[in-house]
């Protein structure tokens, strides 16, 4: 009978608090991840929105190409109208 009581006491005083402590730790860790994940998602969406201007690079590419062509023509004309240094 005494062993029964000792077993009950251990169950209530040791096992139950340990189980509760461990489960609470897991729950706290899981809950702490949630705000971090939400911040990551918000940052990813903001980063994606910042890249909306990427298609403008195609316009920049075309302008640069046109500008270099104009510069090439300009340089070609200068090459004709200006004497060489040597």
């Amino acid at each position: 009978m005494i062993l029964w009581w000792i077993g009950d006491l251990l169950l209530l005083v040791v096992v139950l608090p340990v189980v509760v402590y461990l489960l609470k730790g897991v729950l706290d860790a899981a809950r702490s991840i949630v705000p971090s994940v939400r911040r990551i998602a918000a940052a990813a969406q903001a980063g994606s929105k910042d890249l909306d201007a990427v298609p403008l690079l195609l316009t920049t590419q075309a302008h640069v190409k046109t500008t270099v062509e104009v510069v090439a023509n300009y340089g070609g004309s200068l090459d004709v109208i200006i004497d060489d240094a040597s």
Partner: protein, 298 residues
């Protein structure tokens, strides 16, 4: 059931309840994490998709810009020489010559001449043309074309152009008239007399045109030999007229010489006027003087 058995069952039940509460709470938290990660992953996928062509486009832009830089560097060195090029770059962008030209590794070691103090025609021309180019709009001093002091006005004064020196008096245009350094003697006469100096002084400047004469015969004037004239001159003597070459009056009676130097063909020439009181006839209309002239004489 003994009392220890009841307590044991209660303890186990408490443990199970604790497990259920915390595990369910953990499951809910992990589901929120999963939802957040899904949202984050979709954002990251968008980033990857949007940034995928960036590398290719930027590489193409850089290749074009490199070609432009190489072209301009090559042209500058070809036209101005490497040393003057570095001086020109240093003059336009102070400190830039130390970095050197990309396609000329030795250019960084050159001590750039002070182009801003010693100009040569070639470098000045290149500087002026370069400053007007759109690529110079990125100058740290701003667009040069809107800067009068930095523009090409000062450069113009270095060229041997008389007007650039803003002289007070320029040489005059060719002079015509009696004071002209080159005089052409008139070789033909198209009516009237060629005015001499006295007549020119009396009649004034308008008569100088006749003194200059018309086109000399040796230069193909209308009285030039037939071989110098065109096959079909537009105007001949019948159109231009000519003098009689004699002092004979052109009319039958001529001008009344009794009037002397004051003779006037309108009052002192023509037929005799009819007698006073005679019946007027139409044929005598030309012989009468105007009432105004009659009043003037009286």
């Amino acid at each position: 059931m003994p009392a220890p058995g009841v307590v044991l069952i209660a303890a186990v039940l408490l443990i199970v309840l604790a497990l259920v509460y915390y595990l369910v709470s953990t499951i809910l938290a992990l589901r929120q994490v999963t939802a957040g990660l899904d949202e984050a992953i979709s954002g990251v996928v968008e980033i990857i998709e949007k940034s995928a062509p960036v590398a290719e486009v930027v590489q193409d832009i850089n290749a074009n810009l490199d070609a432009g830089v190489g072209l301009l560097e090559g042209l500058l060195v070809k036209k101005a020489g490497l040393a003057d090029s570095m001086g020109l770059i240093e003059g336009l962008y102070p400190g830039a010559a130390a970095e050197g030209l990309r396609n000329f590794p030795d250019s960084g070691a050159i001590t750039p001449p002070r182009i801003s103090e010693v100009y040569t025609k070639g470098t000045l021309t290149l500087a002026r043309l370069g400053r007007e180019a759109p690529i110079a709009a990125a100058s740290p001093n701003g667009p040069v074309l809107r800067n009068v002091e930095g523009g090409s006005l000062d450069a113009r004064s270095l060229y041997p152009e008389v007007r650039q020196t803003r002289p007070e008096k320029l040489s005059r245009s060719p002079v015509i008239g009696t004071d002209a350094p080159v005089q052409y003697e008139p070789s033909e006469q198209r009516g009237g007399t060629t005015p001499d100096e006295a007549e020119l002084r009396e009649k004034g400047q308008w008569a100088e045109t006749a003194a200059e004469g018309i086109v000399p015969a040796e230069l193909g004037g209308s009285d030039a030999p037939p071989e110098l004239l065109a096959e079909d001159p537009q105007l001949g003597s019948s159109a231009l007229g000519e003098t009689t070459g004699s002092e004979e009056p052109a009319t039958e009676r001529g001008i009344d010489p009794n009037a002397g130097d004051e003779a006037d063909a309108t009052t002192d020439g023509g037929p005799e006027p009819p007698e006073e009181g005679a019946e007027p006839d139409l044929k005598d209309a030309a012989a009468t003087s105007r009432q105004v002239d009659a009043d003037d004489r009286s």
